[in-house]
Symmetry: C2
Subunit: 352 residues, 2 copies
């Protein structure tokens, strides 16, 4: 056995789902007039096993940080030193994820899985690096990202972190990412798992120019070639992933096992989610997609997962930012389900 | 002169716009990575004349209610008695608009422009009907909706209400609508002002079946025929609009005159906005589109206005609901512009 053994993913609560659907039909509005809000309210009711669903009150962003050896090939507009600098920025509350989390009452936990630096040098607390597997990863166009053992340790870290957060009361989890170069392994994983060409899955990441995009595409193609024929998700993470991807995949799979709803973010979490759905088949029923990234591979990942993004705002930042922007939409869904009067309560006539 | 004389619409503040663009370029993220959030933050800074923009704190939904004679032709899934019943529901806080407004700290003012009932019979305060022009409207497939004088009084009511709310401190205005049958005049107005066919602009409103859709389409076509060749916006409102549309058009035009940003809602506010842009050319620079309705004519209206919707959630409720769901996106835009650290502050390296 090469993969961690995840239990069978539990089903959503069909009774709560049915109650929510019934309630949507008697609220003072034409049935279906709240569109996606109705669907989200029904989903969260089914996930929580209660109708109406409660507004999530302990929202946790777990931000998996890691560097990538492939950055040395010149696939990013930014140098790798930005990864630890941004981790320090997260710790100091200055990044987009912090600002967006504050507004919706979410908290942010940063996990250093493979940052290519000693974060103590950046004033970051040792706790952040408690689960660190290694510094950076192998250059995936030329060599494996991780050893098999490193990959398993990273997945187990993601599982343990999900358990910690859920045991502490988290009722909505959001995966975040930070790592210069991480859109390259994300594109590779999505390319392999959706059977798409390198030219289709490779995007501009942080904003690379045409020459860099051509180089990145060639590197994605080379890495996809190295991963050709690999079907085992652990082997795939070891070959072309990274410790941050492995941890996020374990985290997402375990959230489903633990019946905890997830709002996915963009490209990196889409790639990790595809792998997680291999580790724990059916896990995706516990997830919703916060937004559609401009990265082309992201739409492919969501389509394969059967998830329709809530927002489409042209975001391409990562960190969990897009999922956080979607939180108020989920809240609006719950608020309307729980707070609106019924036709009977309001003495409003239903359709003729 | 048949139209009220609106002053020239003031321009947005180009200095604040430039400052916001400059600030977006030095925040700790790749430039452009926050997509639409960046655009919204720049727009609101330019509208408020200050960078960074302030989070709107006095958000007002003004909900224009009115019945429509054309409802008697069987164009809706609901009876006209629902209009006063829903106005009472708004007063009692049980509708979607109330629940959504509460969450974002907005307040809701309902204005009875032409409800076909005495709202006192429904326990609604007399203040709500202070600006009432008449009960219902003419059947627009056969006769004019309003007289010229009624139309002018309704537009003036919308202007006066905008002035009242802005004088009271409103810093973001949202137009809402309620009125059984109102998607029919909305489709007609958009059909005329975008030069589109009745079959293209007619939608299912509250959820009508195929037979009703065919009847509604024929009625839209007949009303468009009656409006053929009319270019004056007041005459258009009198011929195929209604007092609720006229008031909302005056309200939206005056908001722009008074330099007050607006989040538009769905189909009805899209139709009123098209007319308002005729009353006060250029007013649309003060507006953003909260969402894209499933009603087909709405997209045509937004395209003609040059507005791209923030959300696309399959909503078709009206009331201002879609714009309210978009408020947190605007808030996220301001929060990130105002709250994120710069590269310099956070000691993060900018692109190479």
């Amino acid at each position: 056995v090469t993969s961690p053994a995840f239990p069978v993913v539990p089903a959503l609560d069909e009774s709560a789902r049915a109650q929510a659907l019934d309630r949507q039909a008697i609220l003072t509005k034409p049935t279906g007039a709240l569109g996606r809000l109705e669907e989200l309210s029904v989903w969260l009711s089914a996930a929580q096993g209660v109708c109406p669903a409660r507004v999530p009150s302990r929202i946790k962003v777990v931000l998996f940080a890691g560097d990538h050896g492939v950055a040395a090939a010149g696939v990013s507009a930014y140098p790798s030193e930005v990864t630890p600098q941004m981790v320090a920025n997260f710790a100091n509350g200055g990044a987009a994820v912090n600002v967006l989390a504050d507004r919706v009452g979410a908290t942010v936990r940063v996990v250093d899985m493979a940052v290519d630096a000693d974060l103590a040098d950046f004033g970051v607390a040792a706790e952040v690096s408690r689960w660190k597997v290694r510094r950076s990863s192998g250059r995936i166009d030329l060599e494996d990202a991780l050893t098999h053992d490193e990959t398993l340790r990273a997945i187990e870290a993601g599982i343990a972190i999900a358990d910690e957060e859920i045991d502490a009361g988290a009722d909505l989890l959001i995966p975040g990412d930070m790592g210069i170069g991480n859109t390259t392994p994300a594109a590779v994983l999505i390319g392999v798992l959706t059977g798409s060409d390198a030219a289709v899955v490779t995007g501009r990441g942080t904003g690379i120019d045409d020459a860099t995009l051509a180089r990145k595409t060639a590197i994605v193609a080379a890495a996809m070639q190295r991963a050709h024929g690999i079907t085992d998700p652990v082997a795939l993470l070891a070959t072309v992933g990274g410790a941050d991807f492995a941890a996020m995949a374990g985290f997402l799979a375990q959230a489903a096992v633990r019946r905890t709803p997830v709002l996915l973010d963009g490209l990196v979490s889409g790639a990790a989610a595809l792998v997680a759905a291999q580790l724990a088949p059916g896990a995706q029923v516990w997830w919703r997609a916060g937004h559609r990234s401009v990265e082309p591979a992201h739409s492919l990942a969501l389509e394969t997962l059967g998830l329709q993004p809530i927002l489409d705002l042209g975001l391409r930042l990562g960190e969990g930012s897009g999922a956080l922007v979607a939180v108020p939409i989920l809240v609006a869904a719950v608020d309307t389900l729980a707070g609106m009067a019924t036709f009977g309560e309001a003495n409003v006539s239903d359709r003729e």
